[in-house]
Subunit: 145 residues, 2 copies
Amino acid sequence: MDKFMQAAIDEARQGLAEGGIPIGSVLVHNGQIIGRGHNRRVQQGSAIRHGEMDALENAGRQSAQTYRESVLYTTLSPCAMCSGAILLYGIPKVIIGENQTFLGEEALLRERGVQLDVLHNNECLHLMQAFIATQPTLWNEDIGE
Amino acid sequence: MDKFMQAAIDEARQGLAEGGIPIGSVLVHNGQIIGRGHNRRVQQGSAIRHGEMDALENAGRQSAQTYRESVLYTTLSPCAMCSGAILLYGIPKVIIGENQTFLGEEALLRERGVQLDVLHNNECLHLMQAFIATQPTLWNEDIGE
């Protein structure tokens, strides 16, 4: 397993252990994780701290150049908000754990030239399947449904 | 002047007074402001707290139904990230102060059925023109350029 996707999964599991939604993400620049995070809807009562957003926030203020040399890893296909953040900062490549439980804005990202790699990772899939089965209302809230 | 756009401008001015980027936003539901905010890149070292995101975060966790009955006011045309958040939560209407200093993802929002009203407000315009003229590097950072 790619060590960066493993780090994103570790973040997702940490979120789950905190009673949160198990989605994690890391931002990687020059082979180093510069930001890592997980969904904090439950933990912080947050409407904007999806896993990817949390990783970007924890990376802090970065130059446009840094974003354009970075790769974002996320355990789940990025929603419209997180996809918009990817486009804002011009992140050229996103590695996605799975897109079976939720298909985000992959078509838009591809159309705008972002390279996507969907791993169809079973650990990511099972984390979300189990979570959605047990907490469907919370999950729907997180995706605005 | 619409009192809600005035509230968004008040937020922008508060951000400026704090040494930040003068963009403000309010989320309105049933004629009441349920979240208000401004850009906090400087104040919090934040990569994700654009004005609209800050207003959404400060509104806290809301139901899908609430978002779908809400109107978002913002002093500046929403960037890809903020537009993505609007799409995620299905906010049906956005009132924009100005889109001359920065044109965000208005075409995408319209294509997805979001109603936009651009006010071409001079106060919003002058706030941003003055800011961009004095702090171009900070402004470019905020829009990933």
